[in-house]
């Protein structure tokens, strides 16, 4: 289990994340939501050791993530950030094969190739696998990066706004795949989301942040109601139920 304890990060004198304590429940999708600048991405970066916390600690199996050996940690937890610029031309398959790096250090054996094939199949990328990344649309690129994370085959998958710049169809496609990863393969997914309705429909738990602090933390149905949303967003948001999904109608509130 991943436990976040009293985590604080400051830039200058301004706290971006302040005294955050959260447990990530295994086998579930946990969404981090909140207004811009609430510290969601910063928190996710610290959980995945991309960023060092000023005080507090993040524990994976009761051991501080900074104490973990870098490649052992990479076999347990994977992280995908928003921007993925690179200046080499890679094919999708080459990118996905990088997901095996923590295990192979670059020399792929047959088993690794099977894992790569599975990841490509999972993301429906088999036909495109020899295309170069810079020839793809935004949605296809995003799927390729998620396939890399799937090939990495970690218990925990952390994603920072994976739906950024995607249209409705591709967003739904990716959320459904994440749901499948949790339900079929027993993964634990932590995701930073901007669209509250995706969080409402697809996640099991929601952690809401505001000004660097946790304001709400609980099962989705406890968070998606007008009172709780008022605390998070300072907006009066009506919630309607539609085919068992709670939808927040925030467009004219």
């Amino acid at each position: 289990m991943i436990q976040v304890k009293e985590l604080t990060k400051k830039y200058g004198s301004k706290s971006v994340v302040e005294n955050v304590t959260v447990d990530i429940q295994p086998g579930m999708i946990t969404s981090f939501i909140g207004p811009n600048g609430a510290g969601k991405s910063t928190l996710l970066s610290m959980v995945s050791r991309l960023l060092n916390a000023d005080t507090g600690e993040v524990l994976l199996d009761k051991a501080d993530v900074r104490r973990w050996k870098s490649d052992e940690f990479a076999k347990r937890v994977s992280i995908l950030k928003q921007s993925n610029y690179m200046n080499v031309r890679l094919t999708i398959r080459e990118l996905v094969a990088f997901g095996r790096f923590p295990y192979t250090k670059g020399r792929l054996n047959d088993e690794d190739n099977v894992k790569v094939d599975e990841a490509l199949a999972y993301m429906n990328l088999e036909d495109l696998q020899h295309n170069f990344l810079d020839e793809l649309s935004g949605g296809q690129r995003q799927r390729a990066f998620i396939a890399m994370v799937i090939a990495q085959d970690t218990e925990y998958i952390l994603l920072d706004e994976p739906l950024n710049n995607l249209d409705m169809k591709h967003s739904v496609q990716i959320m459904k795949i994440l749901r499948k990863l949790v339900d079929e393969l027993g993964k634990t997914v932590v995701i930073v989301l901007h669209d509250i309705n995706f969080a409402s429909v697809y996640s099991d738990r929601i952690v809401a942040l505001k000004d660097g602090r946790v304001v709400k933390d609980g099962p989705t149905h406890d968070i998606i109601n007008s009172e709780a949303l008022k605390d998070i967003y300072d907006m009066d948001i009506p919630v309607q139920e539609q085919n068992g999904c709670r939808i927040c109608v925030y467009f004219n509130s």
């Binding site: 995945s48 990479a74 992280i79 993925n84 031309r89 990088f98 790096f101 020899h130």
Partner: protein, 322 residues
């Protein structure tokens, strides 16, 4: 992908053949049976060119990977300028006939040690306060380089003109008077550095995915950046002290290698760039010596071609940025 690997193998074989041809041509063309005099001299020059060529290619490729940039070379860190300053100081304070110039070992050791110490201090200073973007490091390096260059120019202006004439020999890369024993000494350092760095090449491949993806995949990114900076500084220091500064050379071979082998694999890129260095240096020296009969020096040609190629790269990058 298979096709690409095959094509790359073929290209590699062609490059190896080209390198061997230029070496044989250089050593044996017009030898006229002078096995005792010309043969060992030519051989030592070829060895010197091979070592420096590979060192410069290797350090440029790794430097460009860790800075995520294909136009910078390690010379922006100011090591070339420091080398010139050291040599100018020696001539300025001790004169051209002092033991610091005449004893080539001493001169070589001073230059290498000073450059490596400078680089280490530089990194220590900049990395001490934790996270600074690498561009900050480059900016400071450029400013320091310009500063050292200005001091050097100032000293050269007020130096005795006779001393200046002999100092000029140090200002341009030259293979014409490399010291035989020094070549093996420098070569040993270069080979050790290469072998040490070779294990890290697969991690460098991952680095091309960017810092966050590399850390995600278990690469100790910040530590690897520091290791690679030190490695490239040692290589640049040794090759500069051996033959003098060759500014554009690394830029040419590294970028030619990226274009020639469309791959992210550093093992291929570096071996390719190293072979291209050998072809360019040995082949170029052959043309300079036998065809132009020493009317010009190789470094002039390299800087000329390198400059043109640099402008081409700038234009290409600006077009692709649009």
């Amino acid at each position: 992908m298979r096709n690409r690997d095959k094509a790359n193998q073929l290209r590699m074989v062609a490059l190896i053949a080209l390198a061997i041809i230029s070496i044989l041509l250089y050593i044996f063309y017009g030898l006229n049976g002078s096995y005792d005099y010309a043969l060992p001299r030519r051989t030592i020059k070829v060895v010197a060119m091979a070592f420096t060529g590979v060192a410069i290619a290797y350090s440029t490729v790794i430097f460009q990977t860790i800075t995520h940039n294909r136009i910078l070379t390690p010379s922006v860190m100011g090591l070339d300028s420091l080398y010139m300053l050291i040599q100018t100081c020696i001539y300025f304070f001790f004169g051209g006939v002092s033991m610091f110039v005449m004893n080539k070992y001493l001169n070589f050791t001073i230059a290498v040690v000073a450059m490596v110490v400078f680089a280490l201090l530089f990194y220590r200073l900049l990395f001490k306060e934790g996270k600074r973007p690498i561009y900050f490091l480059l900016l400071v390096g450029m400013i320091t380089g310009t500063f050292l260059g200005s001091i050097t120019t100032f000293m050269q202006v007020i130096i005795d003109p006779n001393e200046y004439l002999s100092l000029q020999n140090k200002m341009f890369a030259s293979f014409n008077n490399v010291n035989g024993d020094l070549v093996w000494f420098a070569g040993a350092i270069i080979v050790v550095t290469l072998i040490y760095g070779w294990r890290l090449m697969n991690s460098l491949d991952v680095m091309t995915l960017g810092r966050e993806n590399a850390i995600n995949l278990g690469v100790q990114y910040d530590k690897l950046v520091k290791t690679m900076l030190v490695l490239s500084s040692v290589l640049i220091a040794v090759s500069t002290a051996l033959v003098g500064p060759i500014t554009f050379f690394g830029l040419i071979v590294a970028n030619l290698s990226y274009q020639f082998f469309e791959t992210y694999k550093h093992k291929t890129l570096i071996v390719g760039a190293g072979l291209m260095s050998i072809v360019a240096l040995v082949g170029g020296q052959f043309i300079v010596e036998r065809l132009f009969t020493f009317n010009t020096t190789l470094s002039v040609i390299i800087n000329f071609i390198g400059g043109i190629y640099f402008i081409y790269l700038l234009l290409k990058e600006s077009r692709s940025a649009k």
